[in-house]
Symmetry: C2
Subunit: 401 residues, 2 copies
Amino acid sequence: MAKVAVFGYGTVGSGIVEVIKTNQELIAQRAGEEVDIKYILDLRDFPGDPYENLVVHDVEVILNDPEISVIAEAMGGINPAFTFTKRALESGKSVCTSNKELVEAKGAELLGVAKENGANYLFEASVGGGIPILRPLVTCLTADHIDAVTGILNGTTNYILTKMAEDGADFDTVLREAQNMGYAERNPEADIEGHDAGRKIAIMASLITGKNVPYEKIYTEGITKITPRDFTYAKRMGLVIRLLAMYRERKGKFFAYVAPAMIGKKNPLYAVSDVFNGILVHGNMLGEAMFYGAGAGKLPTASAVAGDVVDCVRAHGQLLPGGWSTEVLDLSEHTFREKKFFIRVPAEDADAAEKVFEGSQRIDAGFADEVGLLTQAMDEVAFEEKAKQVPTMIARIRVEN
Amino acid sequence: MAKVAVFGYGTVGSGIVEVIKTNQELIAQRAGEEVDIKYILDLRDFPGDPYENLVVHDVEVILNDPEISVIAEAMGGINPAFTFTKRALESGKSVCTSNKELVEAKGAELLGVAKENGANYLFEASVGGGIPILRPLVTCLTADHIDAVTGILNGTTNYILTKMAEDGADFDTVLREAQNMGYAERNPEADIEGHDAGRKIAIMASLITGKNVPYEKIYTEGITKITPRDFTYAKRMGLVIRLLAMYRERKGKFFAYVAPAMIGKKNPLYAVSDVFNGILVHGNMLGEAMFYGAGAGKLPTASAVAGDVVDCVRAHGQLLPGGWSTEVLDLSEHTFREKKFFIRVPAEDADAAEKVFEGSQRIDAGFADEVGLLTQAMDEVAFEEKAKQVPTMIARIRVEN
């Protein structure tokens, strides 16, 4: 029997306990032995909880128990999760986590510690919640050179953008609504400013390249400036607005960005709405494949962590593939990729703007005071050059088809 | 260095050679050693082909070469692929295949032979072409009870249905067009009658339940009876028509069918059009996840076979998870699942039909001579009972939301 400890008894942590208890029998079949939870680490007590007797407050109890072979970490945040994870790995215990902040910030180091100590550090749940995406990259698409990933990686912003498109409501109204429904946090910055999506694409880029991609190096733009009028134009063009997280390799150069973009019907991500996530992966042989599902939520996320636990148990101390080094990837300026841009200018400046953005297509969405233009494809350096000549520009959104 | 033999140098076989040669370096990294092709088995010669010197006509050369540890089988059909695969496995060589006919018909037996001889029999490419779906089921969703799969598993029929919807053309016209474009075979029966999709859902059901599901036991209906008028009604209802392959477990009973069905916008498969495949998997913890991509084609399919080869090489003779026994699954009559039906009746019988199908919704698609009805949800036994009372019924299509 494999004995597991769960670090953190919040939403995801209690979900992990629920998954392992509910599906105990089939998990035992798949893991090759029974998997049982021996400890739950939390500072709080949980009187009345069916597993209250498993709760311990002192991490030493768990770290010093040689019976514990796998830990499911669902504490969130860097500290003390980092210290606890590192010490667990040092004592040869494998750690499975949903903690994307930690994986992004300390993944390279923790993967190194794991390897040195014959343990595994797995984090399927850190990207795409319940959607299997990291392990398929590492264990399925092994004959492919993965040169592009485009993801809708944040359910909160996707919900907000979907609602804004449907209701014509403005950002603040929909955000408040999302907060009331529990789809957005009280402090929504990490989501709406794109940092959460940035961390996730950084993890994917690291896994694909084998080098460390700090998310601070990724150009990141949130959705706070998107207005109802942008959706009116998008609809007129048959496009939708999504917060995209993107990784590209072209001729040995690496690009990544997070930003709202307009996409069309031919893009499989077009249909990914509400709180769902979709991740489009391109391989040089495979072409495109998309992975879709619930990118967050207690049980889907817990299901992914529990799947990692099963993997660790059946690996019996063998090192599983996947990971990256501490060497930092040389990320090129994202600005060198060519794409079209959608811009909005005051009606009186439309002619001048059209001269600057030669060959652009005028989009009439029925507003008397302004005009939309869909530019030719260009890189962002060229775009910024031209944009300087249109100082009254109201908005600009990238177009990715 | 791992030495590989490719059985069959047709479309997929030559694709496998191309994938392994093109991505040689990264495949070596991921497999942990170089992977090279030593033989290509084919009855034909390939003068001028860059690998003509690898071609052998006698399988014994390969089976008796102890250096060969993995075989990529892309011969198609049951024989002689079955005999060759069985003998290879008996000699401890692992076999990776795209041959869905063989996996469906002889998978249980071959998996048994593989296990006895410490070899692996892998077949990721047999379902969904390049889309990673079987390995994620076996290695990612391990903490979930998978209780439903709904797939668009055949690209040819999906292309035909998409074109019929777009062009308003009839089945025979679009089929001929698809044949001319190489999207449908000269003998299209296996595709258009649903047998190909049936084999694939049988493989998935076997893998999920661990028991053998012969596709002959699965109720299978093709797309040949779908007419342009069906699409007119579907559009009126905001639905699309897809050939669905379905597996369900409910209260310990197992159901499967292949049939055209109407689905709505909320179903992630709604957006899966043209030659693409989409596979929606439901787990009791995960909820829904969808896998989407090219379900066929030389390189995507070859990419999946080559991924299996990498897995076999890095397994170093260790048995990989996944498989099923020869015990046949007790499949319940698919008819007991409740769903709505769309039916068409002559205008003069509409009132009578509405009395029989109480509570149904009348769909007016502008045809003077007939009327569409969307029934209440019922099982198929109840439906057939009622249908007998409407002998002039023109068409009936299941509705799956």
